[in-house]
Amino acid sequence: MEYLIIIISAIFVSNIVLAQYLGICPFLGVSGKVSTSVGMSGAVLFVMTIATIVTWLIQTYILEPFGITFLQTISFILVIASLVQMVEIILKKISPPLYQALGIFLPLITTNCAVLGVALLTVSRNYNLMEGVVFAVASAFGFGLAMLLFAGIREHLDLMDVPKGMRGVPIALVTAGILALAFMGFIGLV
């Protein structure tokens, strides 16, 4: 039940992009096409889950016991940055097809604040390791859902002639706003 609440909350009620404002840059930048947004979401799912596990372990077994939680930011970002590198190298070796699908998105993820954001939220909400993993996976799906819906709408808008002043980022933001408005209907589900 606990897990179900975390999942519904992370995907619908407090969607990471539409309600928590995390991962906006890739949300706007890579969501032009449905296919690329799927690739990006896959990469985020991958990195976010591993990063949350590793940062949780670091927080619980290193930072807290030694009373050096003030090194949280610096250690988390270093972990994520090196993790992305490692994932890239390992993926290239063991699964070239997966690497081809996700590879180009991996470098973009280091500065995707959704990954660091979810790691920080996991710690600040006192989740245990399993809850953290569920939260990370659900958040990644929430990110994917928002990306996918958004990409669909943007592909549709590409066929329309949007007024000149609104073309590009402005109309994308307004669309995201309306999407966020619609998602507010889920308030109170958990």
């Binding site: 500065t111 002043g165 980022v169 307004v174």
Partner: protein, 194 residues
């Protein structure tokens, strides 16, 4: 290089938010009021200026391949310093900004300026660039915060000019997206006119 131009470009011409579209997460997240926007802007400015200065000072000491990790460590250190200072001295703001203070570390502006500007330019230029970009960022956040606060709460910097309720959506997430969208459209128009 003309230092005045270097400084002022961050406000309109190369504004990090309105033109370069960098650092949009904190831009949207913390601007439910003007004061929060300003606080976040200034915190980012501090990190930007400090990291720009340090990076330009030691740019020649760092081998190319470990450039990015080194920059990240430097930036993360300054972010932590800001975090600790804010928690101690402006606890209310610290709580309002929440996880977006540590998230300054992944704000693309900071790493972008370190990598794209400070690692190539002189100390003074880098300092001024950081100051200009940071204040431009702060300006954008404060503007967005002021508009949202005015529409959503009927006040600016906490000073209430409408009694009672205003249009609540604007201090919630949909309002953040919508207001930023129209501000960018408006600025595009304004830029074309000049």
């Amino acid at each position: 290089m003309n230092q005045w131009k270097n400084f002022s470009k961050g406000f309109i011409k190369d504004n990090p938010v309105f033109v370069l579209l960098l650092g949009l997460c904190p831009t949207l997240a913390v601007t439910s009021s003007a004061i929060n926007g300003l606080g976040m802007g200034l915190a980012t400015t501090f990190v930007l200026v400090c990291s720009n200065m340090v990076v330009s000072l030691i740019k020649n000491l760092i081998p190319d391949k470990v450039r990015i990790p080194s920059f990240i460590v430097i930036i993360a250190s300054f972010v932590t310093i800001v975090e600790l200072i804010m928690e101690g001295f402006v606890p209310a703001l610290f709580e309002a900004l929440g996880i977006f203070i540590p998230l300054i570390v992944v704000n693309c502006i900071v790493l972008g300026r370190a990598e794209g500007f400070a690692s190539k330019q002189s100390f003074i230029s880098s300092l001024i660039d950081g100051l200009g970009m940071g204040l431009g960022f702060a300006f954008a956040l404060t503007l967005l915060g002021a508009v949202r606060e005015a529409l959503g709460n009927g006040s600016i910097f906490g000073y209430k000019f409408i009694e009672g309720d205003a249009i609540l959506v604007f201090i919630l997430s949909p309002g953040a997206f919508i207001v930023l969208g129209y501000l960018i459209a408006l600025l595009n128009r304004f830029k074309k006119a000049t």
